[in-house]
């Protein structure tokens, strides 16, 4: 394995999954085909392994995990183990060589952005995509904070949920390395997700945008009901606008983020303009085309300061995870139509 610790996003392509994980490899690929992705660098999977070996923390972690092997599935034990591992990681210093490289890269990124301490986002990127399983930190400022949050991302490999997932596969002690992407933070006026096919019907001729005020977290975490725009991908015509009352937004503070109330007069107003909607769908079509028509679930943000169209950024993309066939309202094969209708009725109204 290439032992290089830091890569710049623009050096990467999707063949680099084994170096920097899926999320960052895809981001590099998008950058290569000229899509507007915020610039940044990645701490590779090797950097994780390097930290684990050099600090000796791997031994300690294996100790905690192997104990779990005796009682797999015990959530309380998993939580306790997770707590110990977090503490173990946080008290270790990052090896000097890695630290220097991170500091140098961060300074370079800040300079490129014309500032000393550029706010960045810090995201974990595994070999396999696990939406929501590993942590993301927004609006991180300065080297010390950055180094701290990199360790947090590494530690998120050992969250109780992640440990439980590994345990289900019978791989308790196997430690799956994780890369960490560091990107220029987009100070978003609005953000959200875009599906290049209707996620419910699977209809590939429609793009569905969910959007809310502020940073994207409020949509991803389902804190507000987002605005929903449905666009005909062929004609780029906006078929439907469902503007909802967006009560909360996530905003950047001095360090980190917080939730605040959306001003009353903005709550019921569409948080995207028509030209922004069209621009997003145009960009999304390029992404989808690049992934050979596999429907994509794309995170995006619209910068509060930059002029249109430079304001529209793609933050990440992954294949759409289609709802499981037994979920929601799908009829199991072989079941009668009326029986299914009646079962649904009971489930929705009487359970």
């Amino acid at each position: 394995m290439d032992s290089k610790v830091i890569f710049w996003l623009h050096e990467l392509g999707r063949e680099d999954v084994n170096l920097v994980g899926q999320k960052c490899a895809f981001l590099g690929q998008m950058m290569q085909i000229g899509l507007p992705v915020p610039s940044g660098f990645v701490l590779s999977l090797s950097a994780f392994d390097n930290f684990m070996e050099a600090t000796g923390v791997r031994e300690e972690i294996s100790g905690y995990l192997s104990k779990l092997g005796e009682t797999p599935g015990d959530l309380r034990q998993a939580e306790a183990a997770s707590r110990h591992i977090y503490d173990a990681i946080k008290k270790r210093e990052i090896p000097q060589e890695i630290r220097h490289k991170v500091e140098a890269s961060y300074q370079k990124l800040s300079r490129l952005c014309g500032t000393d301490q550029m706010p960045v986002s810090v995201r974990s990127s595994g070999r396999e995509s696990h939406p929501g399983l590993f942590d993301t930190y927004l609006n991180v400022k300065g080297s010390p904070a950055l180094l701290h949050h990199i360790k947090c991302c590494w530690a998120s490999v050992f969250s109780p949920r992640a440990i439980a997932t590994q345990a289900q596969k019978g791989l308790v002690t196997q430690i799956e390395p994780i890369a960490v992407g560091v990107q220029k933070m987009i100070c978003a006026r609005s953000a959200g997700v875009l599906f290049t096919a209707d996620p419910i019907s699977g209809n590939p001729s429609l793009a569905v945008i969910e959007a809310s005020w502020g940073l994207g977290e409020s949509v991803a975490q389902a804190k507000v009901t987002p605005d929903k725009f449905i666009v005909n991908k062929e004609t780029l015509g906006i078929k439907e606008r469902r503007i909802s009352k967006k009560i909360y937004q996530v905003i950047a503070t001095e360090q980190g983020t917080r939730i605040e109330a959306v001003p009353w007069e903005k709550q019921g107003v569409a948080c995207l303009t028509d030209e922004e909607i069209t621009q997003l769908v145009k960009l999304a079509k390029q992404v989808e085309l690049h992934y050979r028509g596999v429907p994509q679930d794309i995170e995006w943000a619209v910068d509060a300061e930059l002029p249109f169209p430079e304001s529209v950024f793609l933050i990440q993309t992954r294949p759409v995870v289609t709802p499981s066939p037994r979920g929601r309202f799908n009829k199991p094969p072989g079941k009668g139509n009326t029986e299914h209708i009646v079962d649904l009725l009971i489930e929705r109204f009487y359970r």
Partner: protein, 569 residues
Amino acid sequence: MNWAADWKPRQVNHSLVMSDQDLEAYPCWYLDEAHSIPPWTPLSAWSWVHGNRYGDLWAAESIGLPRCRGTDWRELDGCAYMSPVLVTDEEDVRQREARFKKHLELFIQDYDRIWQDVIQELTTHYDEFRAFDIDKAPAYKLYDHFEQVFNFNFRVWALHSWMMYSLYELYALFEELCREPLGIDDTSVQWHRLMRGFENKLFEADRWLWQLYRRAMELGLDSVFKNNPTEHVLPTLEETEAGKKWLSEPRGFREFLQEHGWRLPRMAEFNCKAWIEEPAPAISFIKQYLAKGGTFELDAKKKQLINEREEAEREVLSRFPQSEQGWVTMLMKAAQRAGSFSEEHTFYFEQTSYSLMRRAALACGKQMAGRSLIEDAEDFVYLLPDEIKKNIISLRLDYRGLVSDRKRYYNEYYQRLPRPALIGKLSNDPEAAMSYMVASGDKVMAKITVGRAVRTKPELRADLYGNPASPGVATGLARLILSEMDIVNIKPGDVLVGITTYSSWTPVFPLLKGIVLDRGASLSHAAIVGREYNIPVVVQTGEATSQLKDGQGIKVDGTKGAVWILSND
């Protein structure tokens, strides 16, 4: 505590008159504002609460409605109040569920046959009742007839609720499923497009009436309608050959009355003559058509509405996965039936049954008036069935004092408006009252009689907000229609403003540009018929009849659910 100190009935007493105990024992009573405002005469009120109560309880039990044993009903000074009876034992709920599933499956599969069977059962009985020679019948036969007709009305209500509960569940489920993929519900334009472009039995009457107006023009009779007050039109027509032809030819006026005349001007209110006895309302509609002219709106608009509906159907279906479209189509069809059923059922259920009940009770009234036991045959509306039955064979009880007390009492409570929408323990907490209703899972209350909460949209700066029930925007003069007596005031281009509307008012819809109601929901009469006539309808405004003045210029937006006052004249 006495919740209704001012409301205690003094002159009418039967088993379903609201008592203090009822107010204590039930969490909340909900006013049936869609039907019982203005308040009913005593016999009508008796029949409404007894009939509905029996029908609801029987049907809920028969189909095994999981969380509701039906609705209990009480009368309070001419108004009907209802309260759902919840099933609280979870084991019981599961057992009912099993029955409910079995019933609904059969109902969906066999809907057409079931509905035909119900119509068959009803018309067989009605035909028998109509064939009864009521004027020549001896007292004991009249008594028997009265008993049969009034008893059959319980069966009518049972079948009524049985059909309603079943269909409305499916309507509500389809709405629930459309919420997520499409973001629409029963206040959305797309929903209203899906639910219109359908025929029903009542439109047959409207169309026929319009044809009779066209025929009158052809026969050169327009001056008879134009130059005579309504009550002189029929006698004047009898004087000419053309007039006689119009009345007696095939598809003429008399045939129309035989088929569609069994309706009371206000549904279930006995104090007005049925059209078959007194065709003035029908004549008055024809006079109004004459003032309007043009074509029959319903047919002129129908093709477009059907096209729009089919497009909406395709669009809605495309938003469900291909693999699911079979059952979704089936469910959509069932939901669409709920609309046309809500409309045409009144022809087979309430209208005919109550016309026949009036005919039976009036015959008893005539016998009593003949013996001077009451002043006027029409005074039967102040008597309860037991009182009528007690007197009809022996004909010796002098009811004049009783009737005069009741009449005074009725005249007093008739004026007493508005009535509280909620009474009982939760009456000061409308939100809790709503959740109690929702807990019952009773969709009929939600879709017709009580309705749902209105989402106000302050950014529209409207004078009134309601729920959208039929899309479009229109301006016109507000015409306050508080009872069937006001209908003659409607001029072409008016906007009807009322508490509710009744199916017997449908012939006036071709004249209207819009409708604004205090109450109602997506399956209320005005909503269904307004959609078919493609005029904007806003329901559940709460205060249209108190905020809007007769003759005022107003703008109605049935897409957004708002009303603006344009002028204060």
